[in-house]
Structure formats: structure tokens, C-alpha cells
Symmetry: C2
């Protein structure tokens, strides 16, 4: 691998681990060689591929849309109301609308919304080192997939541009849809019925459902990703597990608990230590965090 394919990674042991793993599993003469069809890599999204602080982008979208629909609510009210309040907000802002309409609403919001600290569109808060890694893997015959707690339909409006991933490889939480023949012809209407909350152990089940193969590489950042990394690590092939540790309050955020669901990092960091997984120290290992704009 030519070194300049990962220019946003500092020359540390973490970069070395990644480069060595990719070389070993793609070299036909290596004992660790893995055929292309089995090179499945899975990534969490929020906090692993893009910034999730101070509030998930999708939650900001939901709050903005609720206000627009005449039902303003605040983050404080949401916190106080717990899961019931969150589901009510999602029903209001993510349901009763066709998939085509929802796609347009998301794209409009993404075009105008700005991250409160970085002043840039949310899709420009992707992690440049991880985007480079996705590119390296893609060029070496890996199929990269996202398994996120965020909503599938929301993510797919920008992940093709942001990461170069086709929609079928971007899987998150799912609200059910209903097929109907509308005035303009066949359409799918998003409903308030929750199909899958794609977090924790469900990520392993979702990988089985959507990919049907055990990954050989996985990346996450909180305990909600633990099962996904464990499931990957148990592959008969050589595997690589990456944990993004948010240590960089100067350039991004330093935290050990995700902003809304409150998932911690204690379990995944302990498992990483035990399983010799690769922990990315954002402050130390990344030369750049976000792309130049």
C-alpha cells in the first residue's frame, strides 16, 4: 500500500496495524489471504465515521422539523420524556410521509443546516482518516457496510456522496413502510412502527440479515458496537477490530459516553484491551480530523 493513501493518519502503531492487516489479507501469497468475496468490513457511523457531538445530526434534524411542523420541542424536554418522548418525536418527524418525500426533506435540511461548533454542513463533519480508509478498502476488493443506530433512510440521503457507499450497504434503525397506490401511483409511506433499533446485539443480527456473512473487519466507538466487534472477531479468518476513542477536545470532542443514548465505552475498551483490538487515539493517531472545506 502506498503510504500516501492514508495521509490523514500519523505514522503510529495504529496506522501500521491497519496497513499490515490490509496487506496480509489481500496478498495471495500471505497465509492470511482472504478472497475478495469474503472481505466484508462493517462500520458504525455516529462517532466512528462522523462527529456525533454535541447532538446527533439526525436528532437536530428531527427537532428542526418538529418546529417547522408547528410542534416545537427542546432537547431538555426530550431528555425528561425519555424513550416515549423520543418515539413521539420520531413519529411526528419521520412518519406519515412517503419515502420520496422524506428523502427530499432530508436533503433540504442537510443543505442548510450547519454544525454548531464547526459551522459546516453535517456531511462535512465526516472523519477524513476514516474516509481515506474506506477508499483503501474499496480499492482492495472489500465491501464496506455501515451498521448504525441512526435511521437508514436519513443516512442514505448523504452517505453515497459522503463515503461512496451504495444505499444497500448503509443499514441503520428501520421504521416500517407501507406500500400503497397513491394519487401519483405506487408509493411507500413511512409509518411510526419501529422495525429495528440497530444498536447493541442487534447489530450482529442485522449483519446476518443484510450481509449474510461474517465480517473480517469492524469499527465502532461505544459499547453499542461491542457485539458487532465480538461477532467479527470470532470469524475463522484473520480479523481487525478498530475502536475510535474520542480523546481530542481541541479538534473534536473528548468523551466516553455517547450524547443521547448514553452508551458508554467501558465495555468496548475493556474488550479491546483483552482482545488486543486496535484503539484509535484520535488526538495522537489522526493528523487531520475533518476534511478541508
Amino acid at each position: 500500500m502506498s503510504a500516501d493513501e492514508l495521509p490523514s493518519w500519523r505514522e503510529t502503531s495504529v496506522k501500521q496495524s491497519i496497513v499490515e492487516f490490509v496487506a496480509a489479507v489481500t496478498d495471495p501469497d500471505s497465509p492470511d489471504f482472504i478472497p475478495e468475496r469474503d472481505r466484508v468490513a462493517v462500520f458504525d457511523n455516529d462517532g466512528t465515521l462522523w462527529t456525533e457531538q454535541p447532538v446527533y445530526a439526525q436528532l437536530v434534524f428531527a427537532l428542526d422539523r418538529a418546529a417547522e411542523l408547528g410542534h416545537p420541542t427542546s432537547l431538555e424536554e426530550l431528555h425528561a420524556g425519555g424513550m416515549e418522548a423520543l418515539l413521539k418525536l420520531l413519529a411526528l418527524t419521520h412518519a406519515g410521509i412517503t419515502t420520496d418525500e422524506f428523502d427530499a426533506v432530508c436533503r433540504n435540511w442537510l443543505a442548510s443546516a450547519r454544525h454548531p461548533r464547526f459551522g459546516r454542513p453535517y456531511p462535512a463533519t465526516v472523519y477524513q482518516p476514516m474516509v481515506e480508509l474506506l477508499g483503501v478498502l474499496d480499492r482492495r476488493g472489500f465491501s464496506c457496510w455501515i451498521f448504525s443506530g441512526g435511521g437508514t433512510d436519513f443516512m442514505r440521503t448523504w452517505t453515497a456522496d459522503g463515503y461512496g457507499l451504495p444505499p444497500h450497504r448503509v443499514i441503520g434503525s428501520v421504521g416500517e413502510t407501507e406500500f400503497r397506490i397513491g394519487d401519483g401511483g405506487p408509493e411507500l409511506v413511512k409509518t411510526a412502527k419501529v422495525g429495528t433499533i440497530n444498536d447493541g446485539p442487534q447489530k450482529a443480527s442485522s449483519i446476518h440479515r443484510h450481509v449474510g456473512q461474517r465480517p473480517i473487519m469492524a469499527a465502532g466507538n461505544t459499547d453499542g458496537d461491542l457485539a458487532m466487534l465480538q461477532w467479527t472477531a470470532a470469524s475463522p479468518y484473520r480479523t481487525l477490530e478498530l475502536v475510535v476513542h474520542h480523546t481530542d477536545g481541541d479538534r473534536e470532542y473528548a468523551y466516553d459516553r455517547d450524547p443521547i443514548l448514553g452508551s458508554g465505552t467501558g465495555q468496548i475498551l475493556a474488550a479491546a484491551a483483552e482482545g488486543k483490538w486496535t484503539v484509535i487515539d484520535m488526538a495522537a493517531d489522526w493528523a487531520t480530523v475533518h476534511p478541508d472545506t
Copy 2:
């Protein structure tokens, strides 16, 4: 397209429609040209890609396995017991087992089971003309997907060999799985909880969930496939809808109602007539039905 890519199709108007469609959407100079990334084709499985008579292969598998597990039941008892009996049979034969174990059980059964009329393994009851069509589409940059009422895990044990499709492109009904750390490490256990029954309007919703794009081509054989074909036909692109009509009692079966779920063909044939969809008359349009063995 060279004619001998579809040698099992007779030189009829149906073959002509298929050849003309594929040429038009893949020719960069055609007004109907569609870029590769949008060439999504979706197929029903039972009765569309392989024989579903006299009884779905998966149901034979379930009955055989129930007997093996010491709980023999008959097709007659199952009919009499309706959906409740069917779900009980599925819980007995498809749950309480890890995904790896289930995979092995299915492969064992497939290796020994024989179709009662044709005396060949079930995977050898695929329709040779459709296998040729899948190959033509694959070589022209289409991504072909199965959306079947059959079980995802059952199908994936043979569809890679049978059709050349990777597991992620084979989607059927889904039983939920549970992630756990077993004695041998992380595993997924199949549960009796039904996640998705992938028939009728659900097929359109499943396509949205698993592909995230509107297909430009769809093939089915009963009213359970109607929504999938309608959803496809409503694409802004030029599309092709195929209905496999079982008219061939001599070489296969002649029927207008599927064997177990009892879905008819009245609606899909009416929609085909109205929407100018392409109806495949198996007796007239196929030179060969099953592959040579």
C-alpha cells in the same frame, strides 16, 4: 447480445422483449440508457426461478426435520391447522439453533433430498432459462436480487451455487436472531419470533430496506409478487416486468394458484394485461425448463 446467451429461450416475442430491453438500457447511445449503479433487478424465487410444486422445497425440509426431531406431522395436518400449525412447525424446525448449525442442517438435507417427480436434488429444479437470464444481466452490470416468501437463511445455503448470487442479494422471510456468547464463542441463535413475512406489499418495503433503490426490472409468478412489479413499473426509468405463467403440465406444472399460501394469479395477470407486462408462457417460450443433469 449474442443469441446463444439465452439458448433455453425459444425465438418468441417474449425473448425478443427481454433482449430488446437489455440492449436499450445498456447502450450508452440509447435514449433509454440507465447507468450501472441503477440497474437493479428483483426476482421472486419459488415458481419464478425454481419449481415450487407440488410442495415448496422448504416445507418438505421442515416436515423432514420435524420427523427427525421426533415430532412427525403431515401436510394434511398442516393444512388443517392453518397459520398456527405452520408457525409451530417453523418454530420447531427453524429456531433454537445457531445460524451456523442451521446452515449445516440445510446443506445436509439438500444433499440427500430429491424432488418427488423429477428425482433430482431441489437445486437442480431451477429454471434454466432464468439462470441464463441472471447471467446475461450480471454480465451487463445489473445487480440481481431475490425477494422471496421463502426463508432467507434456507435460501442462502444454495443460491450462491444455484444462481451465482452473493448472500446479501438473497432476501426472504426473516426469523429474528439473538446474539449471545456461547460455549464456543459469539453466536447467533435463530428464534421463533417472525421478523418479516416477505410476501405481497411487504416485498416493496423489503426492497426499500435492503436495496434502497427502485428496481428497473422485476419477475414474479403470483399475486404475492404484484406489489413488487407495480413498485418497479413506477420507476422513472424504462422498466421490464416479467410474469412466469405455469402452462406446462408436461415438462413442469400447469397451475394458477401457488401450492401452500394459495396466492392466485388473477391480479398479476390482469395487471400484466393492463400494464403491458411480459407474460412468459412456459410451454411456448422455454425450449428447456430444468438444466441437464
